[in-house]
Amino acid sequence: MLHYPEPLARLINELQKLPTIGAKTAQRLAFFMLKMPESDTTKLAQALSEVKTHLDYCSVCGNITDQQPCYICTDTRRDRQTVCVIEEPDDLLAIERTQEYKGLYHALMGVLSPLDGVGPKDLRIDQLFQRIHSEDIKEVILATNYTTEGQATALYLTKQLESLEITTTRIAYGIPVGGDLEYIDAVTLAKALEGRRRI
């Protein structure tokens, strides 16, 4: 059995905790870092620790931010009557990239999943209702994923929102733009047909 010096073993061990990084990649990265100039490793270490000290989740929408509330929540030019409900803050970046959406966001920080012990109280659902009551919100767009849990979460919220005087919508499911029907899997195609609209 081969033994690494303690500090190296610790670095490998920490790197291995990251997603998609296995034992081999962790080793490669660690040895690469050993060879990096010290100025670079210091910068990396600093960046890592600042991410935690300077960044936080927006107290209103859950976005990752260095100011409270975040730049989206404080932007008065945005449509403040529409809230898009997403699972995780990264979904916000995906939607922002489209440059189509001008409303506000609300990240739930997860989805309903009894098997993982996640119920409505573990998500930022109460906060969503507080926002609906205190802000002037007219439409809620449910943009959770089309997985079983994402769908269950959307169905749960739909029911909870029913009694309120707001419009609830669900993002559409279907064929990617430029998708050639012949190459689209049968399941996606069947769902797209099911969700067809009059034009």
Partner: protein
Amino acid sequence: MRLNQLVLRNFRSYTDCEIDFTDRVNLIVGENAQGKTTLLEAIYFLSTAKSHRTYPDNELIRYNESWFYLRGKIAAANGSDTNPEAQIEPLDLMTVEVSNELSGKKRFKFNGVLQKKLSEWIGQFNVVFFSPESLTLVKGAPADRRRFIDLLISQIDSVYLSSLQNYQFALKQRNELLKQIRSKQANPDFLDPWDDILIAEGISISQTRVRMFAQLKAYVQAKHTELTGDREVLELKYQPSPEKIDRAPKQEATELFRQGLQSSRSYDILRGMTAVGPHRDDFKLILESQSAGAMYFQEAKAFGSQGQQRTIALALKLGELELIRETTGKTPIVLLDDVFSELDGERSSFLFNLLGRLNAQTFITSTRQEAWGPELGDCRVFTVHDGQVN
């Protein structure tokens, strides 16, 4: 469909083995525990991503190894092969590969391309497996019959498999939630979204099953009559859950299902399990016979003789073969494990004549070389000894 070549690496008793097969009958001969069934199991795994006999898949990994790998080279008529004229058309060649690591990582490649969805994998090449254990279709539990129906439909309808996977996942979530409600950790209202998903997927599963079952029934009855003469009639009755859902149009079926879930909710919470839904479906096999002018109805499971039950199991499997053949236009590969010990001379010659007529590629295992008779037709013999094939 034809399996031209099979490669097995670290698969049960096989270390590294490459076998070229013939288009018609491949007779696999060897003593007990030499690896005959394992060859059929490998072919079955390439087709269905499952073993016919074990779970989890890690049991298939050779002792002291950390992975197994399977590869099949398959030829399929470009178009239909059930139409004799299509036989001359060029063949599509496909390579299918499966690997499984001890860590649980499974990879499926079709013509070298990694496949992401199981529903896209299953159905690329189809097999029908018949062995002494097929008797569980008649004698076994409802779960055995559901597995048969589910695999059959999954081979011809990829939307079905995806609905089934969603349904089973939502069911697990719901059952977990029921237990949390029972111990006062969750609110009964939280069940609503899971019920909605179960209903949406369940209705589509149920309707597909009922439609396919009607077709299957016709084929099975025809085969059963060919096997037994007109002495007795086999009746197959689908029993959906909730009841009567099979005869209702979609809207009404949805309502029936919703009511079923609602009315069993408190019972479900008590038991921590969902009592209603297609995961409780079954079908009954009933033998109708006439004697002294009176009709007799007997459930095959309880009252059939061993011989009657075997005949029904064979009829079900041949019905499966016909249904896949008619729906996909391609003759599935037929895997027969130890059937000589199971079927008498009359029934086995019926079977081999039929497979000869269908021109189905067939794999037969036997402990006896003499099993090979003229009724098998054009045949290649492989002897298996201790994980080696000659």
